[in-house]
Symmetry: C2
Subunit: 152 residues, 2 copies
């Protein structure tokens, strides 16, 4: 018989909400990103390409901040994208600490083909919710996400 924690109502609600948010985010992300393997891409590789596709060249630190990964991980993910010929590294001449990451021609072509399909997957994955519900969910998640910086 497992020892069970006796949670208060506030605690039970917070735990329940947290679990449901985590599971929904996980299920949606796996669903949307399942087709990336058709392009031989992982989720993080796609995240890098997507950021460069929308924002233009970024240096590695900025990319890490955008897709919420450590600098060590960014090195490996970008290494692998370079090997694929999808991105290029270019060290800044004015400040040699910085390396700008550019989409290559192949990378741009791949994203031009892939991104509309990604959008389609996102629309289908979110379709269990009405437009109003999606707006509500976005608002609540924004509030929750922003709140992680303030409540110390």
């Amino acid at each position: 018989m497992a020892t069970k924690y006796q949670a208060t109502l506030t605690e039970r609600l917070a735990l329940d909400t947290y679990i449901k948010v985590s599971r929904a985010a996980n299920a949606v992300e796996l669903r949307i990103n399942r087709h990336l393997s058709d392009y031989g891409l992982t989720i993080s590789q796609f995240g890098v390409l997507e950021a460069l596709y929308h924002l233009g060249p970024l240096h590695q630190h900025q990319l890490g901040e955008k897709i919420l990964k450590s600098s060590g991980n960014m090195t490996l993910v970008i290494d692998n994208l370079c090997k694929r010929g999808l991105v290029k590294r270019e060290r800044s001449e004015s400040d040699r600490r910085y390396i700008a990451i550019h989409l290559s021609k192949e990378g741009s072509a791949l994203m031009a083909d892939l991104f509309p399909k990604h959008v389609e997957k996102v629309v289908v994955a979110l379709s269990p919710l009405s437009q109003t519900e999606q707006e509500q969910l976005a608002m609540l998640c924004k509030k929750l996400g922003v709140g992680q910086l303030e409540t110390v």
Copy 2:
């Protein structure tokens, strides 16, 4: 200049919602689980211990389903927990395909100490939202999560 995808309103809303859900879930999870390193645990290790703490012994396949990880990953995560002496494997005598995973005494003691702290972190992380907002978020995420099984 990056090539930009011209999204419709429906597409923009879905993308926006998806990004906010992912980021909020990620931020909350990192925030809540930051203290696990004090116990020398990773997020998946904690997930296994938590499932066993609440539900009693489970076999590996069930654990994988509970915390949404592949069977190959479960083998490694459980291997590492066994090394720590926190769980034990026990092969079923009636069906030798099955291996039940049990919390050890050390595992139970650790969870008895850790879980209340985890709950505290969850309550704080969710506190930017009112009780009504948490209920709303839970409802929307349940609908969204369940919907990933139906919309093929």
